[in-house]
Symmetry: C2
Subunit: 79 residues, 2 copies
């Protein structure tokens, strides 16, 4: 039985969607990456990596970032 | 300046929301955990741990699970 997982999937990656939403929401608050990192209890370089899609973020950290930005976690993954 | 991260937040954890949506969507397809694991290219015990909220899943794996279930990743985190 052929796995569905390799069916073509022309969606922006979830990393790209998260990065785009983070930059947009952070910008709306006028926050630096450092400010978001402080509010989320994470490191500034970690935030920078996530916004460059260079990090395979865990759900618990998505939750911290969402809470800091004042949105529900699922909205960070909604394109 | 007081971090927002510790403000009370009486939402189901994102792990709980993910687990609930996975069990529901997998049930709607009549799939076992093994079937979902095969479709997602992941291990059955990994799926079992996620559904028991015992795993801090990465975004890339949320994407694989979502693709296997045929939904957009953000819908797996929507309560």
């Amino acid at each position: 039985m052929q796995s569905l997982a390799n069916t073509p999937f022309h969606e922006p990656s979830v990393r790209a969607v998260l990065a785009g939403n983070m930059v947009r929401l952070r910008g709306e608050k006028g926050w630096s990456q450092e400010m978001l990192a402080f509010e989320a209890g994470l490191h500034r370089t970690f935030i920078a990596h996530v916004e460059r899609r260079a990090r395979n973020v865990s759900l618990d950290n998505v939750e911290k970032i969402a809470r800091a930005l004042g949105v529900k976690p699922y909205l960070l993954l909604k394109d």
